[in-house]
Symmetry: C2
Subunit: 437 residues, 2 copies
């Protein structure tokens, strides 16, 4: 269970620190679950209840959730639960029967996207959406080359794992995959858009030199696992133009930034003033009910879909659609996108104002925040980052870390996180920083 | 929307036969859904409610569901709905936190399998389970060759579509994939087990001749898309031995036959008296809630899982597990496996007793039944099969068809299908046969 490639993973070395009850649960996991499972934290947590932005353990202790983006409209959201329940008690079939609710939601969803992106295919998971994007991109471009950022995570199917370098060295990248450094304003301190585009152009040339036509450049538009990179707005535009010029597609993986989290728009790509050829989405889409999707331009989707059928048993079922519809209702009626923008800005400001020298950078958009932790020399400090993540957990605040140097605090709470939650978060972080620096 | 490769697909040619309201829905689908979607039947159906083995359209007309295996313990099953609701209202997180319910279910699930198969990894979909099986098989064997039956369907991820020939000629098989004819007692009339094993051995030799080490032979143990093949019990044993002898794994895809449907056992492979190296499962597992799994021997899972992590955001979440647990409760407490055995036997007997010459063979196990439709010459009659499937739909009984010649009625009702339902089914089939022969 030790995984050096995974930030914030529980390891065997941590076992002896656990209580007898925790050890028993961990031992049962190791016996009955496959060995590919990993736990979070040096001292893993068990939750038994959730509400809004809070999770509760067996002892009734409350944890402030500043990590889980899936329960985007709040843990155990009553409206989502009611919508699921009502639909599940009536009907749950599949998309090979007509269903008006499916079309109502699909039309509502595409209305949140640029008008060119007008057709949806539902899947169950973001992995499946990215897997399908890859099949569609190949059919459309005739190419087989893929360009991703150097610590990208796009999913766990065989095809997608092959272009998800963040899974670690043991999970080999495909021979058809090239990686480029993610655009970091903090580390690069130059025109990151031009530099990123130059790297993409070099990757295209390298693919071509190997006889591979580029099919797509795919990026998580908030660069979650690359360390949370949002600025300057527009930095993706030139790279998107470069891949298109080479005959490939620009694919926006919105599984993490999508559905309003970045505060200024429903979709992360909007920040960069461009329209992708394909967009994938998932995680918060059903607030935990499995539902994900691929959206694209009809002309991009046609070469695949006219010749090859795609049926996903659980994709876009009436219950999935009911949950997804309730999530959109919540985002709209509770103004969660604006709230994410305001609370996110407040939180970034307050974290920066802690004024601890270990905080090298505070960045992000809306409620997707990265805090770069550095040593006295300004270099990434992964050890301190690990201490902070685990120190926060001991004080019952949930975060994790990411980035190529494993030194960026990943702060990504449910979108119902409010100013009071932000205040408590900052106070706890200040305390943990003080104890560890 | 025309797909010659897909049996029982709605096609453009059928559009003019629809009512104005149906045409409007189909037109909306074509506008807002990706072009890879397909509908069932010459005249597609819209359902708005389900209960037990019944589906209801907008006009309140009841359809006898003899097709949908996902809603295995009945449409809108109250126990499953209550379990989902109760859990969703309390908590829905993921497997990187400890969760006792996950372990309780995992232990209960493996207890239904041979003791060697003791470790579970949860996914969302059967496609993901088969995709993961392929990664695990490669890591374990060092091989990359796959053997499947000639009309197998295992799923829709890029890797799994490459070994799912039933997706049709437009969806290319991988260069590392070999197909073998499925063992048909009706068509082959000889020792199908020996013949199947000989074909598998030839495929192994051909892989090796191309420098490819065989990683796995994977079969749907009821051969759903190959035409529903169950007899004689034991016919898989020799082929499983052959792939193991060559250093590959025998993988049982239980997505369709699993969870008691075949009546004589919880898992289809049990009929053949063997223990697979890996088992995948899905569809009926959560009665429509997305949950699927890969189960295997620890030594088979180890090479992958010890080096590579696998995290599926929605895989094995508390709500998925609650739904899956309720399904097991229903199967056990309502004796649905025994019921599937008894009702299936009755149904097969009654169908055979119709005595129409177009019925070439009635076969299957439990509530997974195939009826081979033949012309006067005894040859497969796909046109008549299509007429029967659509004729049944017009009389509000849902089935489909499968098989390499598209001439096998696929009858696969929810497991709550009872003797009265069987009687109605047979009467309708007799009527439709009479009208069409």
């Amino acid at each position: 269970m030790n995984d050096k490639a995974m930030i914030n993973a529980f390891g065997q070395a941590d076992f002896s620190r656990l209580s007898a009850a925790e050890q028993a649960l961990v031992a049962r996991r190791e016996r009955v679950l496959g060995p590919a499972y990993r736990l979070f934290y040096e001292r893993p947590v068990e939750f038994v209840r959730g509400e809004g932005t809070w999770l509760f353990d067996r002892d009734g202790e409350a944890y402030l959730d500043a990590y889980n983006n899936v329960a985007s409209v709040g843990h155990a959201n009553p409206r989502v639960v009611a919508a699921m329940t009502d639909q599940a008690a009536r009907l749950n079939t599949h998309t090979r029967y007509l269903n008006e609710g499916l079309l109502d939601y699909a039309e509502r969803l595409v209305a949140t996207l640029p008008s060119e992106l007008s057709q949806v295919t539902f899947t169950c998971t973001g992995s499946e959406a990215n897997d399908l994007a890859w099949r569609v991109a190949r059919a459309r471009t005739g190419g087989t080359g893929i360009i991703v950022t150097s610590l990208a995570y796009h999913g766990v199917t065989d095809a997608v794992a092959a272009y998800s370098p963040s899974l670690g060295a043991a999970s080999p990248l495909g021979a058809h995959v090239r990686t480029v450094s993610a655009p970091s304003l903090y580390r690069q301190r130059d025109d990151v858009g031009a530099r990123f585009a130059a790297d993409v152009r070099a990757a295209i040339a390298d693919l071509q030199r190997h006889g591979l036509h580029p099919a797509m450049l795919i990026v998580d538009t908030i660069f979650s696992s690359d360390g949370v990179l949002a600025d300057p707005p527009g930095f993706l535009t030139e790279a998107a133009a470069a891949i298109r010029e080479a005959g490939g597609l620009f694919v926006a993986d919105e599984v993490q930034p999508g559905f309003g989290r970045t505060g200024d728009a429903m979709w992360g790509f909007a920040r960069h003033g461009l329209v992708p050829d394909l967009v994938t989405m998932g995680k918060p889409m059903g607030n935990g009910y499995p539902v994900a999707a691929l959206v694209g331009r009809p002309d991009v989707l046609a070469p695949f879909g006219q010749n090859i059928r795609y049926f996903n048993t659980y994709g876009g079922t009436p219950v999935a659609i009911a949950a997804a519809g309730a999530v959109l209702d919540e985002i709209e009626e509770r103004n969660l996108m604006l709230s994410a923008q305001a609370v996110g800005r407040l939180l970034r400001g307050d974290i920066a104002a802690i004024g601890n020298a270990a905080i090298g950078d505070v960045r992000g958009a809306g409620l997707f925040i990265g805090v770069e932790i550095v040593g006295p020399d300004g270099e990434p400090d992964a050890v301190l980052t690990g201490r902070i993540v685990n120190g926060m957990r001991e004080r019952r605040v949930l975060i994790s870390a990411s980035g190529p140097s494993a030194n960026v605090l990943k702060i990504r709470p449910p979108m119902v996180f409010d100013a009071g939650n932000a205040e408590q978060f900052t106070a706890t972080l200040a305390q943990v920083l003080k104890e560890n620096t």
